[in-house]
């Protein structure tokens, strides 16, 4: 190829300068960067509304009578569904205002419970989304979040119920760290394989997912099974001392884990953007060739990044066990693994973006539960909307052509990922 005859030094210089261009690009105001994701979210919700109308039998019945009636019926169906979504996710505004005015503390908490529950739902997504985002930043596609989450949850559960007599301030962090370590180990293996043998992490992490499912299935019905469960794959309940505390009495589940997630997100931001190690990681991620010429060890950074990514995924499992479920069953995750890929990308693989997109989808998911009760719309509509939003975020050209936006002067940041061969 002719490219190889070019002056290598010049090329490296170009590549390094490209990095700087990107930095200037990232100084764009927040709103500018958020335009595409926001429009994608709006469009996704509109398509979700269309789906609701298109799958409603009463809408078709109304269209049979007259077109006007059909549209009225469609709008009222969508309206009642999205209203249920809103009240389920945030709360009933009237009740909230009355509660703030009144001085009944219990009523106040209950009026705001939907919103707090949304944050509860968002918490594991923040951890899992950060796991995927960190991988992307280092040029790695961690599809194995689901498996790492299961292993992390299993480790946290084990420490949570098997150790007794510890004070809570030791036991709870210990169980949480055990979860992180379990996930880290599950991420370390594909990281090591990628760095040493070039085995692609996408395939290896998918395989590790299935191994993790089988392993936890065996653990929960064998060594870690609850006494008297009759062979049901479920673990014992964790000790009181291992629980991540919930702030309010029982139906409200809002817990400390949410703030732990925010702190972890801050730490990840700090590592990625304020430390040399983070810079190395990002350089390996965006420009492996430049990193190689600069003498950075890709081996080390791949292994570390995968382990750290796995640790974050493990934390997602641990927080869910220690704060919400309090024992482990096979139905622990409703697909956090794939959802977190979407969340990381919608959040532009930036910790702040991940936190925001996680809260958004935690909210949507929570609201959808109520929508299912009120308008009998299956909760899985959130997945459909999520896929559509992800598509728009990944292909901004589609959004731009829908809304007639101008093309940005600079190329958008592309996530660099290598093919199966792994010879990057």
């Amino acid at each position: 190829m002719t490219e190889q005859k070019k002056d290598l030094g010049q090329e490296i210089l170009n590549e390094i300068n490209q990095d700087q261009l990107k930095k200037e690009h990232s100084r764009k105001p927040f709103l500018g960067k958020a335009t595409i994701p926001l429009l994608a979210i709006v469009t996704g919700l509109i398509i979700g509304a269309l789906l609701i109308a298109l799958t409603s039998q009463s809408v078709y019945a109304a269209f049979g009578e007259s077109i006007g009636k059909g549209f009225t019926q469609a709008f009222s169906e969508i309206g009642s569904a999205y209203k249920a979504l809103f009240t389920g996710a945030i709360g009933d505004p009237v009740r909230m205002i009355n509660a703030v005015r009144g001085d009944d503390a219990k009523e106040l908490r209950q009026a705001f419970n939907p919103f707090l529950e949304s944050l509860v739902q968002a918490t594991p997504y923040i951890f899992a989304g950060l796991a995927v985002a960190l991988g992307f930043r280092s040029g790695l596609f961690n599809i194995g979040v689901e498996g790492q989450l299961f292993i992390g949850a299993a480790c946290a559960t084990f420490v949570g119920y098997s150790i007794t007599g510890l004070p809570a301030w030791i036991h709870m962090p210990l169980a949480f760290i055990a979860g992180a370590l379990g996930g880290a180990f599950w991420g370390f293996i594909p990281g090591l394989l990628k760095a040493k043998t070039g085995g692609h992490e996408v395939i290896n992490t998918i395989m590790m997912n299935w191994i993790a499912f089988r392993l936890t299935e065996w653990l929960l019905s064998g060594p870690m099974t609850r006494e008297g469960s009759g062979g049901m794959p479920i673990s014992p309940i964790i000790e009181k001392t291992a629980e991540i505390p919930q702030f309010f009495p029982s139906p409200i589940r809002f817990h400390l884990g949410f703030f732990m997630a925010l702190i972890v997100a801050y730490v990840i931001w700090w590592i990625l953007f304020k430390t040399t190690w983070g810079l190395n990681l990002r350089t390996v991620g965006t420009n492996p060739r430049a990193a190689k010429y600069a003498g950075l060890s890709t081996t080390k950074s791949i292994i570390l990044a995968m382990s750290l990514s796995g640790a974050l995924a493990g934390m997602a499992g641990a927080v869910q066990i220690l704060a919400v479920n309090r024992s482990m069953a096979l139905g622990l995750s409703s697909g956090y693994g794939f959802d977190s890929i979407a969340l990381a990308l919608i959040g532009n693989t930036h910790p702040v973006g991940v936190v925001l997109s996680s809260i958004l989808f935690g909210t949507l998911r929570n609201g959808a539960t109520r929508m299912m009760v009120v308008s009998s719309i299956p909760i899985d509509i959130v997945d459909v909307v999520q896929a559509i939003i992800l598509m728009f975020v990944a292909a901004p050209a589609i959004i731009r052509s829908i809304y007639h936006l101008r093309k940005p002067k600079q190329e958008e940041e592309q996530i660099f990922l290598s093919g199966w061969g792994g010879q990057s």
Binding site: T197, I206, D380, Q386, L417
Partner: protein
């Protein structure tokens, strides 16, 4: 971009490095030891293993049962593996190395079954017959992957396509009361998803793994949505006509092989048909050469006047077609109704089978058969009252894939340009 140098690297792959020669020899000897220590040493001299050699409920191609003295059989297997390993260490099998490690793996599996079924009986033919059925979606998934990847598109959305196709096949098959139309409906739905994947990856040049993830999430959500909204309430939508067992004339009467391979339903025959078509079309025809060149070196292909974009769309659509057949298998060839998430990761395992089979149709069917066999063993073992948890058997395919991917069987030859969007200059 080191495409040109990569092509040259491929030529060295056939040669076996000296470390690999030794490692494989050691592994083979370890297999021999394992058969001896774990199986033979724990079996009493009088124990007999009885293998039933005709699947239940079949009256063509009958074969007498095999009754083997357990301990002696195991000792023979251990000795054979040991000899193969020793020869490998001293002389080396050269290009037969991978075949020999495969044979040793077969000994290990067979030995395991002999040990497990000592003093009991096991329907080996029934197990193989169900292994063939279990292999169908995995193998077809692998074929689907080969079609996309040989043209340069990474397709991790086979799982999503299969799931959508299984639902569409169930609905169309129920409404029309015709299995063939159901199959067609499944294929169409999968092709639509493939087109979306193609547009996202080829036209908008999104990272192909991400566009695949979009399809996967969309399919999982959409099928669950429709299933809960309609299929669970309206029984008439989820009660398709199925493809039944069709014994092939003459072939079905061959003992052992007949009942296992030639007395199955349409999907098994389709699997073999597609295998032959793929193998010939990809490697014996001009079309195949052009097709593969787009996946290996699109720039060169373009220079020679091959339409890269069109070829890649064709690859993706064909991939969707095969994934659609694989999906329809679940509802029309296996279960008879659609359940949420019923593909259970078979699409991903198909992807693994594709890699394991080194992007070759013949290799893919071998890998698919192996994975199907591991599944079948897992479900039979629990019936035998084995002490080994079935979950560990179920892990085997995934572990094997990772070992293969790590280069134990030799580095794979992924199409060089896959995953890279093509930009005309």
């Amino acid at each position: 971009m080191t495409t040109s140098s990569r092509v040259i690297e491929h030529k060295h792959i056939a040669e076996i490095s000296s470390t690999r020669k030794i490692v494989i020899g050691v592994v083979e000897i370890l297999i021999g030891l394992l058969i001896y220590l774990a199986f033979a040493a724990k079996t009493t001299g009088e124990a007999l293993t009885k293998f039933v050699m005709t699947p239940g409920g079949i009256d063509q191609g009958l074969m007498a049962d095999w009754i083997l003295p357990s301990r002696i059989t195991l000792l023979v297997l251990a000795a054979a593996a040991f000899v193969i390993g020793a020869y490998q260490l001293i002389r080396g099998f050269g290009k037969w190395t991978n075949l020999m490690i495969g044979i040793c793996a077969l000994f290990l599996t067979f030995g395991f079954l002999v040990w497990q079924a000592a003093d009991k009986q096991l329907n080996l033919a029934g197990m193989l017959s169900s292994a063939v059925l279990l292999a169908v979606p995995i193998t077809l998934g692998a074929f689907s992957g080969i079609l996309a990847e040989r043209s340069g598109i990474v397709n991790i959305s086979i799982e999503g396509m299969m799931l959508m196709a299984s639902m569409a096949a169930a609905i169309v098959g129920s409404v029309t009361k015709n299995a063939w139309l159901g199959l067609l409906g499944g294929i169409l739905s999968s092709i639509i998803l493939a087109l979306i994947l193609g547009v996202l990856s080829i036209k908008y040049k999104i990272n192909q793994v991400i566009s695949g993830t979009v399809i996967n999430i969309f399919s999982a959500g959409m099928t669950a949505f429709i299933s809960q909204k309609f299929l669970q309430h309206i029984e008439g939508l989820n009660n398709p006509k199925m493809f039944t067992r069709v014994p092939l004339p003459v072939l079905a009467d061959i003992p052992l092989i007949g009942p296992i391979l030639f007395n199955q339903n349409l999907f098994v025959y389709l699997m073999f048909l597609i295998l032959i078509i793929l193998q010939v079309a990809l490697f014996q025809t001009r079309w195949g050469l052009r097709f593969r060149s787009v996946g290996e070196h699109p720039k060169a292909a373009d220079t020679l006047g091959i339409n890269v974009i069109k070829t890649r769309y064709m690859g993706v659509i064909l991939s969707g077609l095969v994934a659609g057949i694989a999906g329809a298998f679940f509802t029309l060839g296996s279960v008879g109704r659609f359940d949420e998430g019923m593909t259970a990761g078979k699409g991903f395992i198909g992807l693994a089978a594709m890699i394991f089979g080194n992007w070759m149709p013949v290799g893919a069917i071998g890998a698919g058969a192996l994975f199907g066999f591991a599944d079948a063993i897992g479900s039979k073992l629990s019936l035998l009252g084995s002490t080994i948890p079935p979950q560990f058997m179920a892990m085997a395919p995934y572990l094997i894939t990772m070992v293969v991917l790590a280069g134990f069987i030799g580095k794979g030859q992924a199409p060089a340009a896959e995953g890279e969007p093509y930009e005309k200059e």
